[in-house]
């Protein structure tokens, strides 16, 4: 078998050209999904901003579905598939185990994506991201999800196969790097996620064809086994990217492999059960089930996040101190490369994920406190901080390294690229804080008209609500600007950018 490798001029790693190709296509599709998700985000935002109320009810709920699916499924998972190839084949100097399988997986994911997009845009799947039964979409919507999931599972299995082959062919010495270990935990959680996905979407598909009954509570229970676990994939992937960016930007060290690895393992062990925190005010389960499954389970996963929340910055601090920055308590922080968008994304991602996302999430995931949070805007306020301000921002930072390393192009509009993480982070911070705060007034999520025109009764929210929704709108638009700049830079760099020295156009 003749494997075609190139040697990376920066890292010295041997890169299988199949890995290059597969990383590229996944990254490109991820970016297209981000664009669709971002445009629909603007549509949703300008509609919830009551003074503007841009779209009618049907299109609002439709765009909300499109936004959720494109961001939480298509953008993030295609990007994570690219990360899996990097963490296995590239980091371990190995060949991709079965490139054809990689293409089949990609093809299935793409087929599923197109089918779902078609159903959503045609108005045949106005059921929102969670598609709660008995709300019913066109059967092809569920079929698309199944195709996507099977494709993703293929890529995940390929990841494990590549790890096995790399070990067997001794392409690296010792244990795998921590980034690979973290990616592996993300991949394991992906298997758990996809298992729940099959368990819920196959029966739901059959139900949509009229072939079987579905219990609404059981759907929610199993769906959130998929739904929350999928978010934990994002957490594990984000944390792996934190270690990766730390290494690239400041030579951050792993201060203790044992602790970091154990923290990753805790994610795997305790995450599926912790999905219970989505069901804390549901009628189908009792308090014992709720308290046990949201706490003992979640709190060890929370501990894991708090551990990484220490080890990642500590690794940066020690990495800097080992290079001479030992003056005072924060010289390592002040003299860090804030102009490197990989570094600024890293730090901002940690701060937003931890302070805004983590604190609100764990608080709302308390059985009783959930009573004052469930289905209010506090919930999307929380998860935009974690997934967007946290994971997506980290992925954006990584992209500024992917462009020269994988696509071998220079980053276009580089001065703008340096500002982009700050713009996006500031926008997301304002958006998330405003949204979480306005939710405490009881403003509902997933709602087209909080003036309740045409309702049997009147309802007036406190005047502060209008102000906060306006602030939220401004924050969201700033974030959309940051996202738009990111897409502009990446698309321009990849398709129209200057090749790196020594590369042909």
């Amino acid at each position: 078998m003749n494997w075609d490798f190139r040697t990376c001029p920066y890292t010295g790693l041997k890169v299988d050209k199949n890995a290059d190709a597969l990383m590229k296509v996944n990254a490109v599709v991820a970016t297209v999904a981000l664009l669709i998700g971002g445009l629909s985000a603007i549509g949703v935002l300008l509609t919830r901003w009551q003074a503007i109320h841009l779209f009618d009810a049907a299109w609002f709920y439709r765009l909300l579905t499109i936004h959720g699916m494109n961001m939480l499924i298509f953008f993030i998972l295609f990007f994570e598939m690219a990360i899996l190839y990097f963490a296995s084949a590239v980091l371990l100097n190995s060949r991709v185990a079965a490139p054809k399988a990689g293409w089949v997986g990609f093809g299935l994911m793409l087929l599923g994506t197109i089918l779902i997009e078609w159903m959503m845009f045609a108005g045949r799947a106005d059921v929102l991201f969670t598609s709660y039964v008995p709300l019913r979409a066109d059967p092809n919507f569920y079929l698309g999800v199944i195709f996507f999931a099977v494709g993703a599972l293929t890529v995940v299995i390929q990841f494990f196969a590549t790890l096995v082959i790399a070990k067997r062919e001794k392409t690296y010495e010792g244990s795998v790097p921590l980034v690979t270990f973290g990616a592996a935990t993300a991949a394991i959680i992906a298997v758990i996620t996809l298992g729940h996905g099959a368990a819920v979407y196959i029966p739901t598909y059959l139900w949509s064809l009229g072939l079987m009954e579905m219990d609404a509570q059981i759907y929610r229970l199993v769906w959130w086994g998929l739904g929350h676990s999928s978010q934990q994939i994002n957490v594990a992937a984000m944390v792996s990217v934190w270690y990766l960016l730390g290494a690239f930007t400041v030579g951050a060290v792993v201060i203790n492999e044992k602790i970091s690895r154990t923290a990753f393992v805790l994610y795997v062990l305790f995450i599926s059960m912790a999905s219970a925190h989505h069901l804390l005010v549901d009628p189908g389960m009792g308090p014992a089930w709720k308290v046990w499954n949201t706490s003992y389970a979640m709190y060890l996963a929370v501990l894991a996040s708090m551990i990484h929340g220490f080890t990642v910055p500590a690794g940066i601090e020690v990495g800097q101190r080992l290079r001479g920055m030992t003056k005072g308590t924060f010289e390592w922080f002040r003299r860090a490369p804030w102009g490197d968008p990989g570094f600024s994304s890293l730090i901002l991602s940690i701060i937003i994920f931890g302070f805004l996302g983590g604190i609100t999430g764990v608080t709302f995931g308390t059985e009783q406190i959930n009573i004052i949070a469930h289905n209010t805007l506090r919930i999307p306020g929380h998860f935009h901080a974690t997934v967007v301000g946290g994971t997506a921002l980290a992925f954006m930072g990584l992209t500024y390294y992917v462009i020269p390393l994988v696509f071998r192009k220079k980053v276009a509009f580089f001065p703008l690229a340096k500002m982009q993480p700050y713009i996006f982070a500031i926008g997301m911070t304002i958006f998330s804080i405003a949204m979480t705060f306005v939710g405490t007034f009881g403003v509902p999520r997933r709602h087209w008209d909080i003036t309740f025109a045409n309702s049997p009764f009147d309802l007036q929210f406190a005047p502060a609500v209008d102000l906060l929704l306006g602030v939220m709108g401004i924050g969201g638009l700033i974030a959309a600007l940051g996202g738009g700049i990111y897409i502009l830079i990446t698309v321009w760099s990849v398709f129209l950018g200057t090749p790196m020295e020594g590369e042909s156009a």
Partner: protein, 63 residues
């Protein structure tokens, strides 16, 4: 001087550590800065968490 369009981590990568660094000195491997930051985080967490219990306690009795 970083080449434009390539992030600093590639054009001006972090200096390699001397091979005899071993475990590093006390001064080099302390993480006081990080410890302060995580304590600030924990303080924010504790405050936000208990404020929410307080908000909850103002509601109707529910059981």
């Amino acid at each position: 001087m970083p080449a434009d369009g390539i992030p600093k981590g590639l054009t001006d990568p972090p200096a390699p550590l001397p091979p005899d660094i071993g475990e590093g000195t006390e001064e080099q491997t302390k993480a006081t800065g990080t410890l302060i930051l995580v304590f600030v985080f924990l303080a924010a967490f504790v405050v936000y968490y208990f404020v929410n219990w307080k908000l909850l306690s103002a509601l109707w009795r529910i059981g």
